[in-house]
């Protein structure tokens, strides 16, 4: 029996992602094992820590590039289902908790009663991960982070605001372009310049909108609007890669009927 082309592509992409992740995984664990040993000079330890951090960035970059490539080529599949935005945000936020605690960032969250909408949860997760990652990364120690979900006409808005470095005004028009790096962070905070480009692509796939306000040295606020009834099901070759630590629950088998 010949496999349909879509299945072959599915397997190939899945295996490629697996292999691309496994190699930095080995490097990461080896470095971690070394760092547990005694006897390194401070300089040796710093070098090892740099390698470990670069390795983590490599995994992030692999995931981001795979996702962008799937979206740009148009092979990504979309699976709408009824989801609770609050649950998604809480789960994603918990992944950043160690850094939030370490940097003593104060977090405030606001949710309305019932935040259900029909959308693709993996897209939403990647969007929230990227926005939270930026907010946490660019907010200095003791700063603030707020996440506010609100009802809007035929949808919800999600507003993620930080008290971080902000984006220089003259660069505002370039924020969602590929390889964008703000002048005031390049060289001090690491990043691959693809996160917001990916976020913009994903939001438009979900039939949503995104805008931001930002003031240098005061912080940035990104607001996403997502419609109650998002994208239709699209059978593509691959799904998005999500950088999650634990798969907490299996994905839904089918799209529930819409709530009246």
């Amino acid at each position: 029996m010949r496999w349909p082309k879509r299945h072959i592509q599915d397997d190939f992409t899945s295996l490629t992602a697996h292999q691309l992740r496994t190699l930095p995984n080995i490097i990461g664990w080896d470095i971690e094992s070394l760092l547990m040993q005694q006897g390194f000079t401070p300089r040796q330890r710093r070098v090892l820590e740099n390698i470990a951090e670069t390795n983590t960035r490599m995994v992030d970059l692999i995931d981001t590039m795979l996702n962008i490539s799937r979206i740009e080529v148009g092979t990504v599949s979309v699976t709408p289902e009824m989801i609770d935005i609050r649950t998604v945000i809480k789960e994603e936020l918990s992944q950043f908790q160690p850094v939030i605690t370490q940097k003593k960032i104060r977090v405030a969250t606001t949710y309305p009663q019932g935040c259900w909408l029909q959308t693709d949860v993996s897209f939403l997760r990647v969007i929230i991960q990227n926005l939270l990652s930026n907010a946490v990364k660019y907010t200095p120690e003791g700063g603030r982070l707020s996440i506010k979900v609100a009802s809007a006409k035929k949808g919800f808005t999600i507003e993620i605001t930080d008290s971080g470095l902000g984006i220089p005004r003259h660069q505002h028009s370039k924020v969602f372009t590929r390889l964008f790096r703000a002048d005031n962070v390049s060289g001090t905070v690491t990043g691959n310049g693809l996160g917001l480009y990916l976020v913009k692509l994903l939001v438009s796939y979900l039939h949503g909108k995104i805008h931001f306000t930002s003031e240098e040295d005061h912080g940035t606020s990104f607001t996403i609007f997502l419609p109650l009834k998002g994208p239709r099901r699209k059978l593509g070759a691959t799904k998005l890669t999500i950088a999650e630590k634990i798969i907490t629950s299996p994905p839904a088998k089918s799209v529930p009927k819409k709530n009246k």
Binding site: S14, A17, H18, R21, I26, K239, T241, E244, I246, P251
Partner: protein, 133 residues
């Protein structure tokens, strides 16, 4: 002296298997290793470890088939198994096929530091400890 708890690592990447084995031994566990699903099932049934860390994509026999086979064994149907994979978190078909085999959790290896995996192992084994009368 209390008997050491035993953990079986079923992982085809020798580099990952050995370094994770070292850390778990340092944490006080007895560690067994297997390089594919078939070896894993044989080692598990013979040695009856307290916990199995199971990779999914492996040669000879993958983790999915290995777990299905284990669950058919009288002892193996109850042994706690943690899936450690680098497959995408939403590889729907595979994950759905694993649900019935009741793994404790699925961890994406590249997102985990080993010390956190050791903590997860400790928590899992503590939760499973029989309550003293």
């Amino acid at each position: 002296m209390a008997t050491k708890q035993t953990i079986l690592i079923v992982e085809d990447e020798a580099g990952l298997r050995s370094v994770l084995g070292d850390i778990l031994r340092d944490a006080g566990y007895q560690v067994l290793e297997a390089a594919n699903g078939r070896e894993g099932v044989d080692t598990a049934v013979k040695n009856r470890p307290d916990l199995i860390l199971l990779d999914l994509l492996m040669p000879v026999m993958g983790g999915g088939d290995a777990l299905k086979k284990l669950r058919k064994d009288t002892w193996g149907k109850k042994v706690p198994v943690m899936i450690l994979t680098n497959l995408s978190a939403n590889d729907e078909q595979l994950i759905m096929s694993m649900v019935e085999e009741r793994p404790v959790c699925y961890l994406i290896k590249s997102s985990w530091q080993m010390r956190d995996i050791v903590k997860k192992v400790q928590e899992t084994l503590n939760e499973l400890k029989p309550v003293a009368a």
